[in-house]
Symmetry: C2
Subunit: 276 residues, 2 copies
């Protein structure tokens, strides 16, 4: 693992790191904020932040406004990239498929299968790497994310219910199998067998028996993707049936941008910290 | 004035606006955050944030992390651009001269004089425009800025001591006449007569009798420009002699980036709010 940069911020250190990923077969970059509480190697709880379409680690790192709260609450914040990248890695001209659009799955289909293994990357490889190099308390992990990354956070948590003590999302894709983004990406990455899609669809996972105690979701009412791609009511219905305590906050007038995310970052990190 | 975008954030509105500037003879873009307290047209105090070399209005707007505190404290935050831009506007291949590097002066020299009139723009034209379109309480104005924008904030405030009730800066250029950045830009924009330079040099202005009651300055000790370009001790010496109460905080390990600015934004806005 190579250190790209470390920068003092809010009493802690905002780092950016690069490593050769065995999952994706590419160089992968991610960011880690270590709060002042971790300065002497004291283990701190960790929050995974999974980003949305088109993003790298950098978007949330620069615009998520999480450091103030992570520093106060003693949280390590990890922002992975959203896909493999670079020459020799398959891509698509569209912004919602290929590089920047990994959808947190292990692709089985050509041309994506060789490198697009973001599920293995964020659930296995990166956690092991982070545990080796940073003072993370693995008994105290939370996960969150935005849009496609909210989808990632929900599916990763629903399939690892014992790993995460706290789960939230900002404007997540809750049922990719039922919306255009997923109906484009899933056949491309996973093929036509919808049984495989259900493993990466939060609503389907809950319908199929996955269970966690509670979720926090914020969703802007002025989000241009709300009706067509996000449809949080589908998550609400599934949670009601499954007895999952969902706190779904419809935030009046907020859109899909980092101005929305940063507005509620404090609430989310306090929610996580209270449970970690 | 044209609205480029308005986005809900932290209970207020982050707007971006464009207008044809009579000062610069170009289209100019600036951002305004209006806090929730201003929602019904209630007049709020205003903080001017002047940005540094290479920046537009967007850098601080996206990475300054000011909205959380402005929303709490009821402050309107205005971020102007740092120079005129566009075709037909003089430029230089270097990043510290020309577009993105206006230094908050009215240029008198070719080829800069026709458009590089950022002093008139930020001290006269933009305040009048803002007063016309936003609920600003002109009796309660503060000013701050970063690097070249810290230089702008200090010089604008020292020459308008009755206009600003609070003045701060992040890693400001305090004595441009004595450092390479200023010794390159000032002859280009203002010519060789150093009497004109002194009108745009905070330390020189204080030596020549300009006075304000107090200043807050934060400066990172790991800032790569500290020794060569910023030299805050020159400001400290001038303030001591002039009886200006300078709070100069050397922040251990911080660099020149927005990670530094955002770390201390809360302190600065609380400082301003307490005086407005």
């Amino acid at each position: 693992m190579e250190t790209v940069s470390t920068t003092r911020s809010h009493g802690g250190v905002q780092g950016v790191y690069r490593h050769a990923s065995t999952s994706t077969g590419t160089q992968m970059v991610f960011s880690v904020f270590t709060p002042p509480q971790a300065a002497d190697g004291v283990k701190c709880p960790v929050i995974w932040y999974l980003s949305g379409l088109t993003c790298t680690h950098a978007n949330a790192t620069e615009k998520g406004e999480f450091r103030r709260w992570a520093a106060e609450l003693g949280l390590i914040i990890i922002c992975p990239d959203t896909s493999p990248r670079g020459e020799g890695v398959a891509d698509d001209a569209a912004w919602d498929l290929g590089q920047g659009a990994g959808f947190y799955v292990d692709a089985t289909e050509a041309p994506w299968a060789p490198h697009f293994r973001m599920w293995s990357y964020v659930t296995e490889e990166l956690p092991a790497l982070v545990a080796e190099h940073f003072p993370v308390d693995l008994e105290r992990q939370g996960i969150t994310g935005h849009s496609m990354g909210g989808h990632g956070a929900l599916t990763v948590a629903l399939r690892h219910p014992d790993r995460f003590k706290s789960i939230s999302a900002f404007a997540p894709i809750v049922a990719p199998s039922q919306v255009p983004w997923g109906q484009k990406a899933f056949p491309a990455y996973l093929g036509s067998n919808k049984a495989f899609w259900r493993q990466h669809d939060a609503v389907a996972l809950i319908e199929d028996g996955a269970w966690v105690a509670e979720l926090l979701v914020d969703q802007g009412t002025a989000d241009g993707f709300l009706e067509n791609q996000l449809r949080p009511h589908l998550l609400a219905e599934a949670c009601t049936k499954a007895g999952i305590r969902l706190t779904l906050r419809m935030q009046e007038g907020y859109d899909h941008s980092y101005y929305f995310i940063s507005s509620f970052m404090e609430d989310h990190l306090r929610w996580h910290a209270a449970r970690l």
